[in-house]
């Protein structure tokens, strides 16, 4: 049993206040006014802030490895715009340095996702940032979704060769395969099942609504195209990036579609990213959009996610909401709202002790716990 005492607790699911945490078997047992058993190991927070582990909801760690180049770049299977049958688990390297940086920055979980070159890019998973060479030991949810993309990226990659070359082409390819997958699903239930088709088989959980299609879209019209297609096929979806979401904020809010917004720290790197910035993210938040924040690691390093939330706070969002955008909201976005993202009894003991205000870029992550185990301590790292 492990106790964290004398903390300034930010449980996210309840108001902040002084108190402690009791942890057993990797889970949170008690929050707040805890009674510390004599046998418990104690981490004295000495008044420092304690938050849930930070979650990067849209991330390419392990797939686009740091400091390696071509050999470590396994994010986009650019052989065809339709590759739902590839799986992040087969490409993600647990030894990517990014995961070490995540532990050091309090990022305890991330959704690992194929890139956005393809209309449908492959199966995603959610991983904890534990140190291991076994990807399976990191996985908490698989599949956590199916990656899809609209807008500039697919047409840039395929426009000159086989297409799609336009936004309408993007939509057509997506529709064509969703239609085929729906037919395949219908036939699979019939007497005479169709020949096995790996691409269509991989799309079955999408058309059956079992996993969300997570659609990369920046521009407002791409966002609307995503919603249009989702309606046509009755899909469970989330939107990824949503840079111009402020232009359609009311619609997004009304429909309560989950949005992973970001990377908002970069400049307007592409035409479709016009308007990128935290002011517009704050507008979406004010309009009531269901959203979390992402750095799209490694576009912006995932370890800077708390700083991004700090910038969201600077743009006018409350501290509590900014913190929620990288914890509970991110957990709900990736489909693990019941398990991670807040400090509540029964949830995974993914916990961070901070040297100061967690959203202040000058603060350090002092201690990181994943599943109740200390995976990083700043005093030991010599920082």
């Amino acid at each position: 049993m492990l106790a964290i005492t004398n903390a300034r607790l930010h449980p996210v699911s309840s108001p902040a206040g002084r108190g402690g945490l009791l942890i057993e078997d990797g889970r949170i047992l008690e929050v707040g006014d805890i009674r510390v058993p004599e046998t418990a190991e104690v981490i004295d927070a000495r008044g420092r802030p304690v938050t849930p582990g930070i979650i990067e909801a849209h991330c390419h760690a392990g797939l686009s490895e740091e400091g390696i180049g071509w050999e470590g770049n396994d994010g986009n299977e650019r052989s065809d715009p339709m590759t739902p049958h590839v799986r992040a688990i087969d490409g993600a390297n647990p030894e990517d340095k990014a995961f070490r940086f995540f532990r050091e920055a309090g990022i305890t979980a991330s959704q690992l996702t194929p890139g956005s070159a393809n209309i449908i890019g492959g199966e995603q998973l959610v991983a904890k940032s534990v140190e291991t060479v076994f990807i399976d030991e990191m996985v908490v949810l698989r599949p956590s979704g199916m990656k899809a993309a609209l807008g500039e990226n697919p047409k840039r990659v395929y426009g000159a060769s086989r297409g799609p070359a336009t936004r309408m082409g993007n939509a057509a390819v997506m529709r064509k395969w969703l239609t085929r997958a729906r037919r395949y699903a219908e036939k699979s239930n019939a007497q005479d099942p169709p020949d096995f088709d790996m691409v269509l088989a991989a799309l079955l959980p999408v058309v059956r609504g079992e996993i969300p299609l997570r659609i990369h879209c920046h521009r407002a019209d791409d966002i609307r195209t995503a919603l249009r297609i989702a309606d046509e096929y009755a899909l469970d979806i989330s939107l990824e990036h949503v840079t111009q979401g402020h232009l359609v904020a009311d619609l997004l809010a009304e429909r309560a579609v989950p949005c992973a917004v970001g990377p908002s720290m970069v400049h307007e790197a592409k035409v479709e990213m016009r308007g990128n910035g935290f002011e517009n993210v704050a507008r979406m938040h004010r309009a009531g959009v269901r959203m979390c924040l992402t750095n799209d690691h490694p576009v912006v390093h995932g370890r800077n996610l708390p700083a991004a939330a700090g910038m969201l706070q600077a743009a006018g969002v409350s501290f509590d909401d900014a913190l929620e955008s990288i914890t509970r909201a991110a957990a709900e976005h990736v489909g693990l709202g019941e398990r991670i993202g807040s400090l509540e009894p029964g949830k995974d003991a993914d916990v961070v002790v901070w040297s100061g205000d967690p959203l202040d870029a000058r603060s350090f992550c002092d201690v990181t716990l994943i599943d109740g185990l200390v995976v990083y301590r700043r005093e030991e790292s010599g920082c």
């Binding site: 797939l63 390696i68 180049g69 071509w70 050999e71 470590g72 770049n73 396994d74 994010g75 986009n76 299977e77 650019r78 052989s79 065809d80 590759t83 049958h85 590839v86 799986r87 992040a88 688990i89 087969d90 490409g91 993600a92 390297n93 647990p94 030894e95 194929p114 492959g122 060479v133 076994f134 990807i135 399976d136 020949d195 096995f196 790996m198």
Partner: protein, 384 residues
């Protein structure tokens, strides 16, 4: 009939007989031991106390396919037309007169499993051959189909994604292609066995049948730990026999592999780190495998490292912590087991093929020379 007398015999099964003789007849070993009766008609080689070992076994080589010193014309390792070429057969590419075979005899290697390269997800079937120079490769064959070559990691995505601008571009893509074809091969089998329609003859699916039927292992090239784990993941999904080839970062996951009992051909351990995925290549993996009980053999990946040095590599492995007995086994009996031909080669036991080597000194010492190499009871090489 051929006899070697006054030899220090390493049986390959862990025994060392300080003063023993070996008698061979009709290509087979008929007696080994300190008191073998030598018939008067036998030709006799006096070892003068020098060591005799089983003929070494190289479990992973490209001899005959990677013809040496002749440039592109002699390069028959990778059929680069497509990432899926299970219907290619190493046997059809092996040039029996490749000078690489000289290396094998000089290095005391009497059996080699010749494999297609690692550019393709499925590269083709492999063949175990003796290294004795015979006019046709067919006469050299020990077993024609000893496995199906497969590859993960950098090579397929380099050969196809980067160089040909086609799948696979990524590790995920490589895994998807491997899964797709294993699944299709399974469906093909089911339909053909059930007499269903929709399973017309297909050369590639046909070539994968021995794998999906469990007759031969899929031998999967992988260096990095995560690639090795992807190989295990896929092989277990399809419940097929498999081995891991190279296994360079195996030291990171030795316990896990030991638990599964998967056989690994480790090497080339002396290789330079030419690729990113070779980071950390060295003798740690052999040592970790020995410590944790992973079945493994040592390989040169000839011509990446010349087969000539296999015995020296075993010596370095020994000094690195594997020990002499383990190191010798890793280039004899364990290698034969890896290939699946230990019923015939890999140790000096009655009934096995008479493949043996007389050395000038300690067989694990790089300075020792093979004085005589006997294959199938015939002298295949003698130091001039």
């Amino acid at each position: 009939m051929l006899a070697i007398i006054n030899a220090r015999v390493y049986t390959g099964t862990g025994q060392v007989l300080p003063e023993a003789a070996i008698l061979a007849s009709e290509g087979r070993i008929v007696a080994v031991g300190p008191e073998v009766r030598i018939p008067p008609e036998a030709a006799v080689i006096d070892a003068r106390g020098n060591p005799v070992t089983p003929g070494l076994v190289e479990a992973h080589g490209h001899v005959g396919l990677a013809n040496e010193g002749v440039g592109a014309e002699g390069d028959d390792v990778n059929e680069r037309i497509d990432p899926v070429t299970p219907h290619a057969r190493a046997l059809d590419g092996i040039h029996a007169r490749d000078r690489g075979f000289e290396d094998f005899l000089q290095g005391g290697i009497t059996t080699v499993q010749v494999k297609p390269g690692s550019a393709n997800i499925f590269g083709g079937s492999m063949t175990a051959v003796k290294t004795r120079r015979l006019p046709t490769v067919d006469a050299m064959v020990v077993r024609e189909n000893t496995g199906m070559k497969a590859a993960l990691g950098e090579n397929p995505k380099r050969a196809h994604g980067a160089e040909k601008d086609r799948a696979p571009y990524t590790r995920m893509g490589s895994a998807a292609i491997m899964r797709e074809w294993l699944f299709r091969a399974g469906e093909y089998r089911r339909k053909r066995e059930a007499g269903e329609k929709g399973a017309d003859y297909d050369a590639r699916l046909d070539a994968l049948q021995p794998v999906v039927r469990g007759k031969v292992p899929l031998r999967i090239h992988c260096h990095r730990a995560d690639d090795m784990l992807t190989a295990v993941r896929i092989a277990e999904e399809f419940d097929i026999p498999y081995t891991l080839e190279h296994a360079s970062q195996g030291f990171k996951i030795a316990e896990y592999l030991a638990h599964r009992g998967v056989s690994c051909a480790v090497g080339p351990s002396m290789s330079r780190e030419a690729k990113v995925e070779l980071e950390g290549v060295g003798f740690e993996t052999a040592v970790a495998f020995a410590r944790h009980g992973v079945p493994y053999c040592l390989t040169t990946d000839h011509p990446v490292i010349r087969a000539l040095y296999l015995h020296m590599i075993a010596g370095i492995a020994s000094a690195s912590g594997v020990g002499d007995a383990g190191a010798l086994a890793a280039v004899t009996l364990s290698a034969a087991r890896h290939i699946g031909i230990d019923d015939r080669v890999g140790s000096l036991e009655e009934g096995k093929d008479a493949d043996l080597v007389l050395w000038s000194g300690d067989p694990l010492d790089g300075r020792s020379r093979a004085l005589s190499v006997i294959v199938d009871g015939e002298i295949a090489y003698e130091e001039s």
